[in-house]
Symmetry: C2
Subunit: 481 residues, 2 copies
């Protein structure tokens, strides 16, 4: 993988795999410059010749990087080094970099910038990009940045800011090319030539009437092969996937995936064209959606700055730890209720985590498969019964299979066929419990209008832990004492 | 969200949100037609008037759907209904649908088709699409399908088949437009007009010399605004992200994400242009990559057909259940070693799962954050020490905080300050263990060249379970007996 990088007439080849080594180099330089942190951040002159050379080298490496790569470098640096590098980064790219970093890191970067720096950074951003940053900027900066824009752009920023992050409206941009249906392709080509440049990702031109009502789209692919004298209305596609600003961004991303879109128009309730969304925003939505599920399942509330101060990390993680402690305490009380049985047969204490563990593992398998199918729109309510039947079947097979293995081991270990039989029965029953609850939790959550991914892993583990202890110790109390 | 669907002159609007209700409708029809399964699949005439009407309705709904939507419908149907619907689907779209469904479902569909049906389905596919299906098709079908292609296409199919699924070479396509650098934009536009249609996602034209060596790319966006008399070499970009067929598909997808690409050229070691990759394939890679991590963490080996036969599901899940049983058995033996202590203080049995549980939860938080940072290229080897220091800090705060809470509760519950103190100490130590191992496991795996996501969750839980029991029961044995 490689990028060719044009500099004047020379064409130097930059290897994409060089990024990790560039990061290492920046890390080394930043660490060596750390003692001069105070001077650098106040732009004071440096005495040290080596440090001066280091700064020149660091700046030249940084200036060669794409804003997305600068963002990666900043994410990977501890906070002090991050501030130092941020201070030396190309200021004209500051706005782009702020758009690329995660929310957590963006906050730390914005904190170090004064009003003038922030205004300079957002100066060249499009309306939709300014809207994206606005939540994290001081109000005064947003106010002054808006003052320099014309009325149309101000309205666009305010429109984009009025939608939730999870809605199409917050992700749309306003740079688009629109034409009328009753002109020829030749006229369109001449019209396009008057632009200095076309918006990114332009794969289609939007066809509207005099009231800006969307009539169709003219794919560039069709425009280029069309007869120049043909009218747009005879070439354009009227089969257009279109979105409303209040549509859910994840559903829009799925439509992009499904229909292989690059851009799509956004219209209001009267079908008036108000913006467009592009595949690069949708790719971010897909990445964030699947990552959010993964982070939630692991008990992190949100993406965390790798080098966040300890207390910030504690704050990000405390809630799930607290929930986990509550469910663990519940399981502990179930065991407490059987202390009499354990006192008589201590082996029960050693075997009970096996029963609880396999239930949790198996339940998580079921729930993950169902959550995934729901996210892809493959599961409708009517199938719950059939799914349950299948999962119960799987649980029965696994219960008898692994239950027998563990039953034999326990029998041999404790020289008691009774313990072996209780083990088989408890493992099978807990697997059946896991299968049932694993199907019912996500389906119930979906029906209640909640995200089925959120917390379902914690919930099922709570059920299979407490349930597993109850089933195993209960059976043992009845049959072995 | 809505699609406009053109039929002759009429423009009917199809709402994207209608897909779920279409699925419901197909489910209902398929269920009603199930008794006639035998007749339908052998194309025998039906007596039943209602069934005939149902078939007509089912076919008309199916024919209106995009192949990607037909794929979703098939994924969501139990196996018998799926076969029935598949038999009635538009045969000219069969190939497209096979490309869209998951591997597991694709197998079930191909099994029901005879050689002629399969040959008809793959007839209209491009070389790269045929290569994608080839692994799942009977050898005889691949052989005959290749016979009908010309030599160039045969070579393309064989080239694409020679790469691993995880390599760029397996995902590239061969439909591309290339031009020379020494012609004018006007000539390019005239040349393009000779095509019936341009390949999907054409956002740039590849510029090559007489030996097909890649010189640069001409973005359509630039071509459209360029002076027609300008030479291509003065307009083209030479800063081109390019890939080799043996490059890793996940890294390519990250480059697409990072640099907002729509298409990119694939070149061999001499820089000769051999194909291109497109954003739609990369979106699938991103989706699959994050989903694979999620499925692996939950203990599923691969994407599973929702309605797979019970034994197929058992096969897909057995390995992780077996690993889980082994680690649970290990933890059980740790407890077994302290049976003497538990016999004397039964409360230990009830409290020990709390210590193990919080360690597992906290360790999974750490490991997920690090695995994510590694996947995004934000973590280089040199930072392990600093990360460890931070995670240990977080563990100390959490240990003292939640340990004290649980210590107090245990003290009150069992009226023993000793148990409370052991609880505080054990929880803190297990959290420190979780933090240390949570940092070291993914970093060690990465250094060893393994996927840090795979199995790391199981591994850390094994350590915090056995470790937690050992620490808690060990401390209790030393200080309380």
């Amino acid at each position: 993988m490689s990028i060719e990088h044009e500099q004047q007439d020379k064409t130097t080849e930059v290897n994409l795999e060089r990024l990790p080594s560039d990061i290492e180099r920046i890390h080394g330089l930043a660490e060596r410059l750390l003692p001069f942190h105070a001077e650098i951040s106040s732009d004071l002159p440096l005495e040290d010749e080596q440090a001066k050379a280091d700064i020149v080298e660091l700046m030249s490496v940084l200036h060669e990087l794409h804003p997305a790569d600068v963002a990666t470098v900043l994410e990977s640096l501890p906070q002090k080094e991050r501030m130092l590098v941020w201070h030396l980064a190309a200021p004209e790219e500051d706005g782009e970099v702020l758009l690329e970093v995660s929310d957590a890191v963006r906050e730390t970067l914005i904190e170090t910038m004064d009003k003038e720096e922030l205004l300079a950074a957002v100066e060249d951003l499009d309306a939709d990009e300014l809207a994206e940053l606005a939540d994290d900027l001081p109000n005064q900066v947003v106010y002054e940045a808006l003052k320099t824009r014309d009325e149309e752009e101000r309205a666009q920023v305010q429109a984009a800011m009025s939608y939730e992050d999870s809605q199409v409206g917050a992700l749309m941009d306003f740079e688009l090319v629109s034409i009328r249906a009753d002109v020829t392709c030749e006229v369109v080509l001449r019209y396009l030539r008057r632009f200095d440049s076309l918006p990114d990702h332009t794969d289609k031109i939007f066809v509207v009437d005099d009231n800006e009502i969307l009539q169709g789209v003219l794919p560039i692919r069709k425009l280029l092969v069309a007869d120049p004298d043909e009218l747009v209305e005879n070439v354009m596609a009227t089969e257009v996937v279109r979105f409303r600003p209040e549509d859910d961004a994840e559903e829009a991303a799925q439509a992009f995936e499904r229909y292989d879109l690059v851009t799509a128009p956004v219209v209001d309730e009267t079908q008036k064209l108000i913006g467009r969304i592009t595949i690069d925003e949708m790719v971010d939505v897909i990445r964030e959606e699947t990552e959010a599920d993964m982070l939630n399942m692991a008990g992190l509330q949100e993406e965390e700055d790798l080098f966040a101060p300890v207390l910030d990390s504690v704050k990000n993680r405390w809630m799930w730890l607290a929930i986990n402690l509550c469910t663990a305490f519940l399981a502990s009380r179930v065991i407490g209720a059987f202390e009499g049985s354990i006192a008589k047969i201590v082996a029960l204490a050693a075997l009970m985590p096996i029963v609880a563990g396999i239930g949790g593992n198996s339940g998580n398998q079921t729930i993950t498969m169902i959550v995934r199918a729901m996210a892809m729109g493959q599961l409708s309510g009517g199938q719950a019964g059939r799914l349950l039947k299948k999962e119960v079947g799987v649980a029965l097979v696994n219960g008898v299979l692994w239950g027998s293995v563990m039953g034999m081991v326990s029998w041999l270990l404790y020289d008691s066929p009774g313990i072996g039989l209780v083990m088989v029965a408890a493992m099978t029953l807990n697997l059946l419990l896991a299968a049932t609850v694993g199907v019912l939790i996500p389906i119930t959550m979906e029906k209640a209008g909640r995200d089925p991914a959120l917390g379902s892993s914690v919930l099922i583990t709570a059920v299979t832990d407490s349930g597993g202890f109850l089933i195993f110790l209960g059976l043992a109390t009845i049959f072995l004492l």
